[in-house]
């Protein structure tokens, strides 16, 4: 890592992603409560507060918190219904779970000194590959071998069909990789850039520029956090649609 003793300028833009045990020091084993655990837990608490406690009143005329929850519910419900069709609605709780988890993890990570779980490739890979395996298994369970029709374009000219099938298969297996790296990459890059600008802010000469830069990147990150949660969710819906209706 670049470390200039002379200017007192210290760049450790990736240190914010280090996993540390919450209590005491020591090795990080699989069950150790760490800063990852803490911020996942905070996300869980926020989700419980917004969706379970916020809707506790079951008010016909909703409170502010309840109407926020209803907004998110309606947004994702409509997305699932529009993309997957009526028979996709029974998978709505899973998609909603993914969406609120990514959304809250992204936005909580924007709090200074917080930890961003969605920037960790291990976490987004579990999400991405989870969606991939779930959708693939679901496709075979629902459609049997007919699920393979997904790769066989019936409208294409007969000569092109095998070539298209090969491309389709490759693109199908690339899906989980792009799905997970897109999310982790966006969040990690944003946070690293913020940290680099913050490092420059220590230099008196460029600190105004650096601080304006931090504000600008932070604004951009606010957009990116929402958009990435949305993109991950709608792609999940699109993949689910392929499993439900594999025929092109």
């Amino acid at each position: 890592m670049a470390e200039e003793k002379t200017g007192g300028l210290v760049f450790h833009p990736l240190d914010q992603f280090i996993v540390k045990p919450l209590f005491g020091d020591g090795a990080v084993s699989w069950y150790t409560p760490t800063n990852v655990t803490l911020w996942l837990g905070i996300a869980l608490l926020c989700i419980v507060a917004l969706f379970a406690i916020g809707s506790r009143g079951r008010a016909i005329v909703p409170t502010r918190v309840q109407s926020l929850g209803e907004l998110a519910y309606g947004f994702i419900y409509k997305m699932v219904e529009d993309v997957c069709g009526k028979d996709g609605v029974k998978y709505f709780p899973y998609i909603m779970t993914l969406f609120v988890f990514i959304l809250f993890s992204n936005y909580l990570a924007l709090i200074p000194m917080s930890y961003s779980p969605t920037s960790m490739i291990a976490i987004t890979a579990i999400l991405g590959f989870g969606v991939f395996f779930a959708v693939t298994i679901l496709g075979f369970v629902l459609n049997g071998p007919a699920f393979l029709g997904l790769f066989w374009m019936k409208d294409a000219p007969a000569i092109l069909r095998p070539i298209i099938a090969v491309i389709e298969v490759i693109s199908y297996f690339v899906r989980p990789v792009s799905h997970s790296i897109r999310l982790a990459g966006n969040i990690m890059a944003g946070h690293a850039v913020l940290k680099v600008f913050a490092g420059f802010a220590a230099l008196t000469l460029v600190s105004p520029v650096a601080i304006v830069g931090i504000v600008a990147i932070y604004g951009l990150e606010i957009l990116v956090c929402g958009i990435q949660a949305y993109v991950f969710t709608i792609l999940t819906c699109v993949y689910l649609k392929d499993a439900l209706h594999p025929a092109h």
Partner: protein, 182 residues
């Protein structure tokens, strides 16, 4: 530079200064921990959402749309009732107007009849009075002609006498009569 705490944390992925070696994202030592806690969190979120939050919010939304539909239906009904009431009111107003018109016409006709009778009576009276007056005027006129003739005869007779003639009554009368006609 290196502190006690950093040293103990230091492993494959962290250097002696507590800084990350390479990308922390790719540190295999930390992955099982993240995956374990991610799964715990996801399962917790899934249970909270699918068991508590989503059915509740779905029920509230359904109930609200039901309430809104009912309210709209009730409003529609009330609106129809109001329209009916308005139509009835308009009808009553029209009836009342027609009734009033009828009464006014009847009163006018009655008055006209009475007026005609009075007018005829007055006309008859006026005609009677006119006839009476005409008779009186005729009498007066006749009387006045007679007087004029008498005065003329007398005057003529007196003139003839005064001029030294003999007044022959017959001749004078004939002359005066002839002059009067002239």
């Amino acid at each position: 530079m290196a502190t006690e705490t950093h040293d103990t944390v230091a492993g494959v992925c962290v250097d002696a200064g507590g800084s990350a070696l390479g990308m922390p994202q790719l540190c295999a030592d930390w992955m099982p921990n993240q995956i374990f806690w991610l799964l715990v969190t996801l399962i917790a979120i899934y249970f909270v959402m699918s068991r508590i939050a989503l059915p509740r919010i779905g029920a509230v939304l359904a109930e609200r749309s039901g309430t809104i539909t009912n309210d709209i239906a009730a409003a529609e009904e009330l609106k129809n009732k109001a329209a009916e009431a308005e139509a009835a009111y308009d009808q009553a107003l029209l009836d009342a107007r027609a009734e009033a018109q009828k009464i006014v016409n009847a009163a006018k006709a009655e008055m006209q009849v009475a007026l005609d009778v009075e007018l005829q009576k007055a006309d008859a009276q006026i005609a009677a009075k006119t006839a009476e007056s005409e008779a009186a005027i005729g009498e007066i006129r006749a009387g006045s002609v007679k007087s004029v003739t008498a005065v003329a005869k007398d005057t003529a007779k007196a003139l003839v006498v005064a001029l030294g003639g003999t007044a022959d009554a017959k001749t004078i009368t004939a002359a005066v009569t002839a002059r009067m006609k002239g």
